[in-house]
Amino acid sequence: MRDFSYSRASSIEEARKAALQAGAMMLAGGTTLLDLAKCGVGEPDQVIDISHIIGLDAISIDERAATIGALAKMSAVADHPAVLAAFPAVAQSLSLAASQQLRNMATIGGNLLQRTRCPYFRDPATFAACNKREPGSGCSALGGVTRNHAVLGTSEHCIATYPGDLATALVAFDAVVDLGGRSVSVEDFFLAPGDTPDRETVITPGEMIVGVSLPTSAAARNSTYLKVRDRQSYEFAAASAAVGLELEADGKTVRDVRVALGGVATKPWRAREVEQALIGKALTDETVTAAARLSMNGAVAQPASSGGNHYKIELAPRVVARALRTLGGLA
């Protein structure tokens, strides 16, 4: 790991100003920053420690919305009783991520900005070609081992999966990222790779995530996060679903439903076609299975010859369907 200078910011203004300097990066929990610095991927010249800024870790919640400060720890949000009650899927997306040690370190702001686990991206010493790291250099994953790469939202320039669980739950419930001067919905905050896979979010130099806010809803209260992976714990999703459901008084007609997918797309993926197919319909095994399939409209798998990711196209709709059945009492 290359050396850097270290300084502590005591306010948001100070942090934003310091982060404008060339080669500067903010450090919150450090679990992405130091990991990638050790891989030789993100090599800061200056590290601005924002973790000592007072008050930015507050969690508050009322009937209308929850507001979570950027420095709130993953573990604090996961165990927060009011978050658990109003947004179970959000709390679960955090408690099913990483390990308790990492959750005690990592922050909500840093979590959103975690980088892909694409093994080619993480290994510049062996793989020079990576458009995300080095625009125009090519993509080592194409034609390589792609078991964990995305099937949705890919481009010919990059097929890397967005690995985070939290953002998947946030996008399902219309959460908004507070950047201090402006607010952006989580859905618009993240960018699909297109021609510029190096640009992952709309955040600009010197901008800082101040917090995240989430409107409450009946669907959010009755929600779940289902994560399927290669081992039972301490692993990224092979496919995951954040799902929320509100039924009419008859107990079977869908009034509101939210579906988002993780582990299969280049950004946190809201599956609106699934939602539209279910609203106003009776929730049955048949309607759920048919609607869940729509989540893979437009999916592109890599060739099986390269240890491909075709299985995700089969797996993800099953994960969505199982989560919906559980919430709707069909399971």
């Binding site: 850097f4 130091l34 891989c39 590290v47 308790q100 040690q101 714990s233």
Partner: protein
């Protein structure tokens, strides 16, 4: 010439002054600069848990923590959990009784993680212990005995708390 910064770190109740490059992790500060080698380096990338320590009483990974980040916070390492007279911590004793290791390399991290896991209230069942100890890998596969040791220590500590409250 490498730039160094001066840090005063509170480790196991003692203040240690040291001059290090800013990039030095808490793990390397402990092992290479302060001769506290009980904390182990497995992966150095957040994936194994061997380097688990406590910062302000909470378990964290010292390989992904800068030494500079913990200035002003209380660090506890495996060297700091036995009594001053050398009496082993309940969790250390349980690991011995259950033979919860083979080579022992992951053990300091397992014990630090287990102490926190019990304190957090995440050792209520074997399933919960497995989930909340999943950040600590054991290449020797001593998991069955590790779960038994944590379960046992949680029961002992729980009984102690009840006795204190009574």
């Amino acid at each position: 010439m490498a730039r160094t910064i001066h840090l005063d770190l509170d480790i196991n109740g003692k203040t240690h002054g040291l001059d290090v490059e800013p990039r030095v992790t808490l793990l390397d500060a402990l092992r290479e600069h302060l001769a506290l080698t009980g904390t182990k380096k497995g992966c150095d990338q957040g994936q194994c848990g061997a380097c688990t320590c406590h910062v302000d009483g909470e378990r964290v990974l010292s390989c992904l923590t800068l030494a500079a980040q913990v200035e002003g916070r209380q660090v506890t390492t495996i060297e700091g959990i036995a009594g001053d007279d050398g009496t082993l911590h309940v969790v250390q004793r349980a690991f011995l009784e259950h033979d919860a290791f083979q080579c022992g390399y992951c053990t300091p991290g397992q014990i630090m993680s287990a102490v926190a896991c019990i304190r957090e209230g995440h050792a209520g069942s074997d399933a919960e212990i497995r989930e909340y100890m999943s950040g600590n890998l054991c290449r020797c596969g001593a998991y069955i005995s590790i779960v038994a040791a944590v379960r046992d220590a949680a029961a002992t500590l729980g009984a102690g708390q009840k006795a204190e409250a009574a």
